[in-house]
């Protein structure tokens, strides 16, 4: 860690370099270097080992003329104008200790830990709040800076309890680390420590407010990123407390992030409390699948158990936040798991059987029905490889009725621009007008909502919303509830049309809930009319977006999982559900044979005849494409449970039992098959924009149905098999969704 480096440099005797130079000079053989003048010339240089910016940060100069030069410990760095002293030090490779400063939050400057010495300044300055000026000479390792930090640390530790052994933050605590690096080795404090009553922030965040050092990061996070004015600071001096003013829970869907930004153990994870220490955990960098955003996460596991989920930095997708559903769904991975193949006997009871028997029965039944009576439905958590295998297998069986739940009966998979987020998630920050059609990003895609909130805060962007009544955490104009409002805008009769047409970078976001409507083509054609009239799609700006709901949707549409006929379910005799729990099976004939392949005993198993256990996203390697068209891969963090197998392996085995062997045996093989169908799925971690625009679409003859838009997500905390199995999510929906 950089802090340790500084500390060791501070401890190192000053004459270290001079003595080493003396040693060097005796070795050097060239006479010109042995002369004393040359040695004096070189003297300032050896003090400066080449430095790399903290965390490999890169400096982006928006305007090359704005570059200024400052000196950090005598080392010159070029930085853009407007950077703070702390940022300049980071560019110079010096990590300044800090508690209140956070690069994504506003500057508070109240912890005073980042004090540095600046030449010609009478006092040490708080580097996080001080703008760097040209030619500034910053000194970070002088006795003045060292003493200032030691003093600040002593004051902070005055009221901080010494309960590190029972504190959940122990081992990953900023205060712990920095007091080791910069603190004094003894305290002079003998009086009683202050104590503060703990606050109840709900089922997710545990508070031990006595440990709070009043950095106010959580307060700033709640108001600036989460967009809820729930947290605040009360009192002054030693009576200062973080709280909610009145007794209430924190009702943000981003509340879990305050656990990460809290530099001490005041805010910790309640489900994780006293479960593990951070040094026992193995981190696996993977992808979240609870929504279509594909937030980058790190799964921390101990042995076969997922202990917690933390966000991973990805500026293009989730920055460094994740939603509460992502963070706390992990206990669902340990409950209601399907661990053995099962067959429903004649008495209606499930009986555990071996894989061989289960596959033999499935293959036998699949051969008994007519090919057009076979259908396959991929679930919302399926990875691309499994969907490819499912489609290939059913195609070999003679059926082409394969689709992914949530895409409707007649999905439009022809034009990629028709179902992905063309602006890209980070691109939303440039927008100045948003029109949300039938989508509530706050529950459908929290990280997208956080971007919109950020844009609204930064650019004063205007947001118009068409859909049922819902909560927004930013200013939003509720334009209407049904497609009629949309039509008014398209015809220019609505005042919001002028907002769109006058905007520089307008954005229209259509929710994937619209896919389920009968008149979706008509709605999309109206939206495209608005886009055309409002100049939303230009060569340099594509503001026409679809916000998907599920992790599997984009990849499913890319792979062409489109049913041949829209009502194939009415006559199906053999249904292969690959983790699909939300398919309406009411119309299915009673004698249909249902195979459920999945990892949770959820809605899908109740009508199933055969259950094939599969591994969850934390246990397999799979490709997922998020709503903006960026393919990402999960990595296995923990072993699978019981006899479960990866989805694609089961299908591959089944194809062999059925005598239709699929030609791939490895993930590499299945991916080279995917390369033929959808090459963009192999461009991992790279967003692949759509090639063709909406203009290629055929004319739509459908009529608009004036029925109101429905909300696509009823309960934010329970949207899929994993989250429905989770106890924490059940607690959240019980306590946080209460109206």
């Amino acid at each position: 860690m950089g802090l340790g480096l500084i500390a060791s440099r501070a401890i190192r005797p000053v004459n270290f370099f001079s003595s080493s130079r003396f040693l060097l000079r005796t070795i050097v053989s060239k006479p010109e270097l042995q002369s004393s003048a040359a040695a004096a010339d070189a003297s300032p240089e050896p003090d400066l080992p080449p430095r790399t910016p903290v965390g490999g940060a890169r400096v982006h100069f928006t305007n090359p003329e704005d570059a200024i030069e400052v000196f950090v410990d005598g080392y010159p760095v070029k930085i853009p104008k407007g950077m703070t002293v702390l940022q300049a030090c980071e560019v110079a490779g010096v990590d300044i200790p800090r508690f209140c400063y956070h690069s994504r939050l506003s500057i508070a400057g109240n912890c005073r830990m980042c004090l540095v010495e600046v030449e010609k300044s009478p006092k040490p300055v708080a580097s996080c709040a001080m703008p760097a000026l040209p030619g500034m000479k910053i000194k970070t390792d002088t006795p003045v800076a060292k003493k200032a930090r030691e003093g600040v640390m002593e004051f902070l530790l005055m009221n901080h309890p010494l309960d590190c052994p029972i504190c959940d933050q122990g081992g990953e605590c900023d205060l712990q680390d920095q007091s080791m690096a910069f603190g004094s080795d003894r305290g002079r404090f003998t009086e009683m420590k202050r104590s503060v009553v703990d606050k109840n922030l709900g089922p997710l965040v545990k508070t031990v407010m006595t440990r709070c050092i009043q950095c106010t990061r959580c307060v700033r996070f709640a108001s600036e990123v989460a967009g809820v004015q729930d947290l605040g600071i009360l009192g002054r001096g030693s009576g200062e407390e973080i709280g909610t003013y009145v007794e209430k829970l924190m009702t943000s869907e981003l509340s879990g992030n305050v656990i990460d930004i809290c530099p001490v153990g005041a805010l910790t994870s309640k489900p994780f409390a006293f479960k593990a220490r951070n040094w026992e955990l193995k981190g696996t960098e993977t992808i979240d699948v609870t929504d279509a955003v594909g937030s980058n996460i790190r799964i921390d596991s101990r042995g076969p158990e997922v202990m917690r989920i933390l966000p991973r930095l990805n500026e293009d997708i989730n920055e460094e936040w994740i939603s509460d559903k992502t963070r706390f769904c992990y206990d669902g991975l340990k409950r209601q798991r399907l661990n053995d193949p099962m067959i429903r006997g004649a008495d209606g009871r499930f009986k555990v059987v071996s894989w061989r028997d289960a596959l033999a029965i499935v293959a036998e039944v699949a051969h008994q029905v007519k090919p057009e009576e076979i259908i396959g439905i991929a679930g919302k958590l399926s990875d691309a490889e499994s969907m490819m295998a499912l489609k290939d297998f059913l195609n070999r069986m003679g059926s082409n009725n394969v689709w992914c739940e949530g895409t409707g009966t007649q999905p439009n998979a022809d034009l990629r621009s028709g179902y992905i987020m063309n602006t890209s998630i980070s691109g939303l920050e440039k927008a100045d007008v948003f029109l949300l059609v039938g989508t509530q990003p706050r529950v459908e895609a929290v990280m997208v909502n956080a971007r919109i909130h950020k844009t609204v805060r930064a650019n004063n962007a205007k947001v118009g919303y068409i859909g049922p009544e819902t909560d927004f955490n930013y200013d939003c104009q509720h334009l209407g509830t049904g497609p009629n409002t949309l039509k008014e805008i398209a015809e220019g009769r609505h005042p919001f049309f002028s907002a769109i047409s006058n905007a520089k970078n307008p954005v229209i976001i259509v929710g994937a809930g619209v896919f389920e409507r009968e008149d979706k083509d008509a709605i999309f054609s109206v939206v495209e009319t608005i886009a055309k009239k409002g100049n939303v799609v230009r060569p340099d700006w594509n503001g026409l977006n679809v916000l998907l709901l599920n992790a599997a949707q984009a990849a499913a549409l890319d792979l062409g999982l489109v049913p041949e006929s829209s009502n194939s379910i009415d006559s199906a005799k053999f249904v292969y559900l690959m983790g699909a729990d939300e398919v309406n099976l009411d119309k299915l004939p009673d004698d249909a044979f249902i195979v459920y392949q999945g990892h949770h005993g959820d809605r899908g198993v109740y009508r199933a005849n055969v259950i094939l256990p599969a591994s969850a996203f934390s246990e397999k390697e799979g490709t997922y494409e998020n709503t903006e068209g960026c393919a990402q891969q999960t990595l296995p963090a923990v072993p699978t449970v019981g006899d479960a197998r990866d989805d694609w392996k089961t299908i591959r085995a089944l194809s062999e039992v059925a005598g239709m062997r699929l030609p791939y045996d490895t993930l590499g093989g299945i991916r080279s098959r995917m390369r033929m169908v959808a090459p963009n799925l192999l461009q991992v971690d790279e967003r692949e924009p759509a090639t063709f625009g909406h203009s290629l679409k055929p004319e739509v003859t459908q009529k608009l149905n004036p029925a109101r838009f429905k909300s696509a997500v009823e309960n934010f905390y329970m949207t899929d098999a994993i989250t429905r199995a989770s106890k924490i999510m059940a607690q959240c929906s019980a306590s946080l969704l209460k109206k």
Binding site: R337, L338, N339, D340, F350, G601, V605, Y606, V641
Partner: protein
């Protein structure tokens, strides 16, 4: 010595009858003396020795001081005549038998903790898994803790 043995035998036959005498002869293990030399040696050793005590399993503890090699002056005659082994000696007699203490097992039994002192059990290795002690974490311990970290779906709960 031999005459005293014969005399006492004849006396016993006269007092209790031949049938009872023969049954006792068998129960006391004299018949096993023929194939088992160790038992014969113990029986011979017992003559003239002092019976110090009998534990609750029926093992007899003898002592003979004087005219005996030091270290061989305390011994046990197992209650079990055919399949005997050292683990049949309970803890309280172990100390006396191995010259750890001069207190007899009956005296030491007073010190046995009431609440948590458990019954002595001989080592049943080789007698079958169900007789063998398995520690708490052992796979074969019937009360072993369930270490699986997930809860499987129960098909009976459905419907």
């Amino acid at each position: 010595m031999a005459s005293t043995v014969v005399k006492s035998a004849l006396k016993a036959i006269r007092e209790r009858g031949l049938g009872t005498f023969l049954r006792e002869l068998k129960e006391e293990g004299y018949l096993r003396c023929l194939p088992d030399g160790n038992l014969l040696q113990t029986k011979l050793h017992n003559i003239g020795a002092k019976l110090v005590g009998v534990d609750k399993f029926g093992n007899k503890y003898y002592e003979k001081l004087g005219n005996t090699q030091y270290g061989r002056h305390r011994w046990v005659e197992y209650a079990e005549k055919s399949r005997y082994n050292a683990s049949q000696v309970p803890a309280e007699w172990h100390g006396w038998l191995h010259f750890i203490t001069d207190h007899t097992g009956d005296e030491l039994l007073m010190l046995k903790p009431k609440r948590y002192g458990i019954e002595h059990k001989e080592n049943l290795s080789g007698e079958g898994d169900e007789y063998i002690y398995h520690s708490k974490g052992h796979t074969l311990n019937p009360g072993q803790r369930d270490w699986s970290r997930y809860q499987p779906w129960q098909p009976t709960k459905a419907e």
